[in-house]
Amino acid sequence: MMEITNTIIEKHGLKIEEYKNIKKLLNRNPNLLELGIFSAMWNEHCSYKSSRIHLKKLPTKGKQVIQGPGENAGVVDIGDDDAIVFKIESHNHPSYIEPYQGAATGVGGILRDVFTMGARPIALLNSIHFGSPSHPKTKGLLNGVVSGIGGYGNCIGIPTVAGETKFNETYNENILVNAMAVGHVKKDKIFYSKAKGVGKSVVYVGSKTGRDGIHGASMASAEFDENSEEKKPTVQVGDPFTEKLLLEACLELMRDDSIIAIQDMGAAGLTSSSVEMASKGSLGIELNLDKVPCREENMTPYEIMLSESQERMLIILENGMEEKAKKIFEKWDLNFTIIGKTTNTKKLTLKYKDKTEGEIPIDALAANAPVYDRKWTRKNYNKNKFDFKKLKKIKIEEALIKILSSPNHSNKSWITNQYDQMVMCDTAQRSGSDAAIIRIHNKDKAIAVSVDSSANYCKSHPITGGKQIVCENWRNLISVGARPLAITNCLNFGNPENHEIMGEFAECLEGIKEACEFLNYPVVSGNVSFYNGTNKRNILPTPVIGGVGLIKKIFKPLGHSFKKDKSILIKIGKTFGHLEQSCFLKENYSIIEGRPPEVNLTNEKNNGEAVLKLINENLIESSHDVSNGGLLVALSEMAINSNFGAKIDKPKKLNNLIEYYFGEDQGRYILEVSEDNFKKVEKTLKNGNIYFEKIGVTQEKFFEIEGELKIDLNNLFKINNQWYNNY
């Protein structure tokens, strides 16, 4: 037998201390297969060892929650007998190495998380972060990632309806690719991953196992170094066609009660899926590895257990259902093989050619996996106010154009046109608005979905940043008339062994927790991705929030483009003119300084509830939240893509125009109200004690502030649409 040296231990991403612990748990030395299994289960990606104690603090309960974190995906109640299943996941490192396949398999993986629970996926979203546009790799990565996301989603036939795309040089060598999937299920047809019963068949379905991504799970959470590009041959190739078959076959089998437990094979493939099912059910599992369908010849038990081949699932079947299930998978041309059974040993037992090749107590892999309370430090805040006087003066028009034509703010249709947004015929609001709207098939209710992040805010003040993203996400759902229900989150951070990074993580979570609690907006699923960075340069702290909201009766999607001439534009929420950390400073002066805007949760909630009420009473023509870029950017986004411009007033109180038009104060919305409805709206807002201002009217042809700027609508469109096309 191969001797386990320190090098081998390190290559498996395990610390010497952890290895000692393994020996203690086993009461002996592990063999290589067992070591590989420990390394897969104990790495950051599967064990959440650095994040678990912080994640526990997040609010996860609520009347609307059917299933919180801990399953393949979270589940919320949307009334009647319908539920929504959703989750977000990162595929950052694989996407940097091979952008097309990395992004594609990221989409494939998150889809499996959702349909494993019995749900038919109805929408895909993504949050993608790239390095500086001028970095030589960025363009290729952007192209590859976008076509990979599209390639998978389009082929399997699930609409990709929303997302966000951002550039910042801290992602130069470590892009972020987070994919979110949303599915619909009947409440009494939800499937879980907890094994039950001894002697039940453990069934392997889907694609064959190849040598893909071996060490992938370990790779995904090991810091990159110069050699990482050599780790290429383990790249997983996605096969969306097979996934489509797998989806249909699983949903077909799920019509009756054959399935006891089901779990997709994601990171750490067969290892984590079998261990998780056994662990949740306090059972053992015995696998005959010779039975596993293999794509290549002479695959070793080690390779079989650690392969990350895509499009595979593990199912525990009720006795006697094997034949029936087999027929279904064969109809869909998929492998179906009984590879083992559940046992009462509480051990993972691996047999190969009639020999036991490995045997590990399930608890040692799961419950006894390491948990670290890593050291972390609170952020030191710079108390000095940023001095705006030293800035060179800039015209409002010039500043607006600069922002609207920047990579971060340019219209994303170059991306979204590569995604099929309409397949399934229930997309009532496509990309380009604050949130996408998906109708529940054959019903008149709908859900709204959005993903958001604000890495700069989180960097400068993690607690406020954490709060702010939750609020922005909530606002985006409110803006399209949806009642926000719950969120999923993908926490992309640097090296957790660095105290400051760990501090960013802990503090961002404090902020997220506070906002979620206040808004009754619980976390039902999520994913953590640490070690994003290269050679000690870490990415910005980038938690991404994916939210789902409910529209009880959909009559007409609002969208945020102006609908009518001479409508009255009102702004909800106060403007203080907060410019620190703003787009205005970043895009015009390359200054990223100071604090993010304050988040006032009470205002946030009151304003949001008021807007929701107005929309539900059908008093609003269009609505948009005010976020990055401030008031003027929000207003121009409403004009672009519509047939109307606006004539915007100058502020009555605040006399610094730049602060008024570009400040990023939170909790604000712009509503387009027709003249006929204005009185009613005014009354409702006054009665509710909601701060609002009339800020202008819509008009034909021009986007205008008297004496400051006047831009032809066609021009405004061009300004916002040229960057991607010229890149």
Binding site: I97, E98, Y100, Q101, S207, G210, R211, D212, K232, P233, V235, Q236, V237, G238, D239, F241, T242, R295, E296, S309, Q310, D333
Partner: protein, 80 residues
């Protein structure tokens, strides 16, 4: 000078297309197929008379654009 470039998937890399094509051929009644792998083919004509130089150029094109070196191999041959 004209070259052909054959681009194939590296060993052990999944070839979803090849897999489906193989199944289809088997279903069409061909029963002695052992394997099919699908790749890409390029015919490239460059205005260069020096073969060494030309090949170097084709190599460059492959590495820069035509081939995904992470999952693919390639082979250049002179046609005429």
């Amino acid at each position: 000078m004209k070259f052909s470039v054959i681009v194939t998937l590296k060993k052990d890399v999944l070839d979803p297309q090849g897999k489906v094509v193989l199944n289809t051929l088997v279903n069409l009644g061909i029963d002695n197929l052992k394997s099919i792998r699908q790749g890409k083919y390029f015919e490239i004509d460059v205005d260069e008379v020096d073969q060494v130089k030309a090949e170097k150029q084709i190599n460059q094109m492959c590495e820069k654009l035509l081939v995904n070196l992470i999952i693919e191999n390639y082979k250049i041959s002179k046609i005429k």
